[in-house]
């Protein structure tokens, strides 16, 4: 379509008329424009500070500071009213301390108590306290503050369900500035160990007003910046009573996406990625001399629950059939790239009553089919309530195909975690099959307790459990093993799929990162970058600092052998942690 060349004058006229129309429009909407400009100015103002509520305000990090990438951010700083692993992970041992602590091998060691004596009735514990200890607000730590802290757990101020660990305490008596006697209503093996967890954290009466946002403890660090969901900065305390922390400042950064965290590690923005949630990203780091990878144990048992109260899983034969049908090795391969360990019971190898129960229910589809036939549930359909967590979804897929092979049809119902899962499964027990990692240390008895969502008949083990708790060191471990065998082997209460691994990736010059996580606490006191700080050599725990091997699968069996030492008694190990 040939067209004549336009004269320039016409072009200009066209342009002119357009701008006139525009002018009229602008004049009519002047009021609107003014509003728009005003809001734009306000936006600009806040634009310049955008992100200030999410970024660290602890000031410039001093030389030798480190940044640790983690996954789950604490929703607040108060574990007395909020459960979950994220708060104690950041604060226990670093900001808050107990009279006793659990070291990396799962053994009880003195912390704020220099020592303790137990009377012949095994109900009165007399603690000698470390002198010269102060809280970060300047208050002294003494027998009075211990009495305050212990009694506070028993009060309504605590609403974390773990407070039940303190139920056995009858009285706290101040016997001097640095001597305190705690009387139990009955002998209890588990109580002292509980004192090493967050339940035993020591507070000062003047430091509990704003626990959700201000943490006042006796530990080597204080929280100098906290941005919910984003970061938490720990700064070394000047007047700490013990050996000062190795690093002057450690920033904990929370990454929702594991790839983002490892990219930040590669780019040098973080020094350690702790508790890695994406094991498939590890091989790249294991091949790289600039980084090291450690693999240790946690207390996170991934438990596939079978509602013991609901047909058809209320029949022990059906539960046994499920245990025989599920190939747990394949589940572990699929859910955690084969890292982690098969434990056969919700008891990690760091516990004194651990024993290898992997052979109790070997993978045997034929036997599973036979058991199902006996129970008469061939071909029925079961609903599997699966929380929307990557490992749970991956595990569920393997479980479903394994169960289908033995004639059990399983329908997956994915549920939002935590809100919906807690409501439907944990609270209302409205489920048949489900799966979740239970991360609290020594949580076996709470899993088996009356009214818990597993629906276990706790009368089957209550007497044994009471005997265990009341007994001496040796009978504690022996009786708890009986509890495990009764509930896990005889009654097939649940299927413990595997134990979550503790996977850390860090720059090669980082040392002092704990390999194992026998409680929910992440001890950062010895963490340091070598060459930056002279402190590396001082690192106390051999396991924490000395483990510089790149892939730790071999080293881990060594660790497992050490765990066996009973936390309380020194019982020899029952067996190593390597399940497969």
């Amino acid at each position: 379509m040939p067209q004549p060349v336009p004269p320039r004058a016409r072009q200009r006229r066209a342009g002119l008329s357009r701008s006139r129309a525009g002018y009229r429009a602008r004049s009519r909407s002047r009021a609107g424009l003014a509003v728009a400009l005003l809001s734009a100015a306000m936006l600009l103002l806040s634009a310049c500070t955008a992100g200030y509520t999410a970024r660290d305000d602890a000031g410039a990090a001093p030389a030798g500071s480190l940044t640790v990438a983690l996954t789950a951010a604490p929703s607040n700083l108060d574990f007395t009213t909020t459960s979950g692993a994220a708060i104690p992970q950041a604060l226990m041992g670093n900001v808050y301390q107990g009279l006793v602590a659990v070291n990396e091998d799962g053994k009880l060691v003195p912390q704020l108590a220099s020592g303790w004596q137990v009377d012949s009735s095994r109900t009165v514990y007399t603690f000698e306290l470390q002198p010269g200890v102060t809280f970060s607000n300047g208050d002294p730590f003494n027998a009075e503050s211990v009495k305050f802290s212990v009694e506070r757990v028993k009060s309504a101020a605590w609403s974390n369900g773990l407070k039940s660990g303190m139920d056995v305490v009858k009285a706290v008596e101040v016997r001097g500035e640095h001597t305190v006697a705690i009387t139990l209503s009955r002998p209890s093996q588990s109580w002292l160990w509980t004192m090493a967890t967050l339940v035993g954290a020591q507070f000062t009466p003047n430091g509990t007003a704003k626990l959700a946002t201000q943490a006042v403890g006796t530990g080597p660090f204080t929280v100098t910046s906290w941005k919910p969901g984003q970061s938490l900065t720990l700064t070394r305390r000047e007047h700490y009573w013990g050996q000062p922390a190795a690093a002057p400042q450690i920033a904990l950064r929370y990454y929702a996406d594991p790839t983002t965290a490892t990219n930040a590690l590669r780019a040098g923005a973080v020094d350690v990625v702790a508790g890695m949630q994406a094991p498939d990203l590890l091989p790249g780091f294991q091949k790289d001399a600039g980084f090291k990878v450690t693999e240790g144990t946690t207390t996170g048992e991934v438990v596939m629950s079978m509602n013991n109260q609901k047909a058809p899983l209320n029949d022990v034969r059906v539960r046994r059939a499920v245990l025989h049908a599920v190939n747990r090795k394949a589940v572990l391969d699929s859910a955690w790239a084969g890292r982690g360990s098969l434990i056969g019971a919700p008891v990690p190898p760091t516990d004194p009553y651990y024993e290898d129960l992997n052979n109790a229910y070997p993978h045997d589809p034929a036997k599973a089919r036979e058991l199902l036939k006996q129970a008469g549930v061939d071909g029925s359909t079961i609903t599997f309530s699966v929380p929307d967590l990557p490992y749970a979804v991956a595990a569920a897929q393997v479980v479903v195909s394994d169960l289908k092979k033995v004639g059990l049809n399983v329908k997956i119902k994915q549920q939002e975690f935590p809100a919906v899962w807690l409501d439907q499964v944990l609270t209302k027990h409205d489920y048949q099959l489900s799966v979740i990692a239970h991360v609290e240390p020594r949580d076996l008895l709470s899993l088996l307790s009356k009214g818990y969502y597993l629906g276990y008949d706790s009368s089957r083990i209550s007497e044994l459990a009471a005997q265990a708790d009341a007994g001496d060191d040796a009978s504690y471990a022996a009786n708890m093993k009986k509890v495990v065998r009764r509930a896990v082997v005889d009654d097939a209460v649940a299927d413990t799929l595997f134990l979550l691994p503790n996977l850390n990736v860090m720059r090669a010059d980082v040392s002092g990162m704990p390999v194992n996580a026998p409680t929910t606490a992440l001890d950062l006191t010895r963490l340091t970058k070598t060459g930056q700080q002279g402190d590396a050599a001082r690192s106390g725990d051999a396991a924490a600092s000395g483990n510089s091997a790149r892939s730790e699968r071999a080293a881990r069996s060594g660790d497992a052998a050490r765990f066996g030492d009973d936390a309380a008694s020194g019982n020899p190990a029952s067996s190593g942690g390597e399940g497969a």
Partner: protein
């Protein structure tokens, strides 16, 4: 002055309706903030005590009115999950997201206008086809993939830009810009692809119109006719789509926020919903509704500027 008053009234009604809706919906979905706070060790007694501490045991009307009273005085309320006053946090995190969304949508619009017009003009040639097919393909690329690829290439590969993170603009403007580039690029790529399609379609629609034929007949080339007379007409539907895309981007950027570790309002909303942090969710949703309403107002205003026919 009838129109501005009407606008304000309309905005207020929208906000009120949104506030009731979000308040009720949050209480209808399963999940309880007290349960979430207490996790797997909860007992029914402790959950009840926590509900009382959060004030969730009070009548819903009282809770709603208390929230409204706070909103009127500029307070979104104190989150019972984090213990923080949420007003400053929500507004600040929204500002972060606007830093991502506004430059992205502006850039995307610019690119789309050029490419879309080009593709419409040259719809029967190879380059026009390449643009059309290319934008189609880019539209299919999920935002996070674009993000991951950008990080691999420009950051980890070439080391030009930081892979993730956020710097407060006033603290260090240069570092701020460096951190902004990749997430903005990732968002722009997908948005530009979407908008290119709309610009192309709107232009094709315009090309056949009488006024273009007339412009041609008075001596303009096809390109000149389109740029002078076509663009303005094509702008009307494109503007509407841009407004919608921008509102969607405010929450939709959450994936990019996660990939680039940007503390935007999307990630704040996701965290708040997961924790059933009602105070935070309510505050965020109200801000987002307000922004959407303002955006729609702006789009309406721009329509009257662009198209005289829409003026009263």
């Amino acid at each position: 002055m009838r129109t501005p008053l009407l606008l304000v009234a309309r905005t207020l009604v929208t906000l009120c309706a949104a506030s009731v809706l979000i308040f009720v919906l949050l209480r209808l979905v399963p999940g309880d903030p007290a349960q979430v706070a207490l996790g797997v060790d909860a007992t029914p007694e402790l959950v009840q005590a926590t509900r009382e501490r959060f004030g969730l045991d009070r009548p819903l009307v009282v809770q709603y009115l208390e929230w409204m009273g706070g909103l009127l005085t500029g307070h979104f309320g104190t989150s019972f999950v984090s213990g923080q006053e949420m007003s400053a946090v929500v507004l600040d995190r929204t500002a972060v997201t606007l830093w991502l969304a506004l430059p992205s949508i502006a850039l995307a619009l610019l690119i789309a206008t050029v490419l879309g017009t080009w593709a419409a003009l040259r719809r029967r040639s190879v380059d026009g086809l390449v643009i059309t097919v290319g934008s189609q393909m880019l539209m299919a690329v999920p935002g996070f993939l674009a993000g991951v690829l950008l990080v691999l290439g420009l950051s980890l590969g070439l080391g030009w830009l930081p892979p993730s993170g956020w710097v407060v603009p006033a603290d260090d403007p240069a570092a701020f810009l460096a951190h902004l580039v990749l997430p903005v690029l990732a968002l722009t790529a997908v948005q530009a692809a979407i908008l290119t399609r709309y610009v192309r379609e709107a232009m094709l629609e315009v090309i056949g119109q009488d006024y273009i034929v007339e412009a041609r007949s008075k001596g303009l080339t096809r390109g000149q006719a389109l740029v002078r007379h076509g663009l303005r007409n094509a702008a009307v539907p494109v503007l509407t789509v841009t407004g919608v895309q921008l509102s969607a981007l405010l929450v939709g950027a959450v994936v990019i926020e996660s990939v680039f570790d940007v503390p935007g309002v999307g990630s704040l909303l996701v965290e708040a919903v997961a924790g059933r942090d009602m105070v935070s969710v309510q505050g965020i949703v109200m801000v987002l509704v307000l922004i959407t309403v303002v955006l729609n107002l702006c789009v309406d205003l721009l329509h009257t500027v662009i198209d005289p026919r829409t003026r009263a």
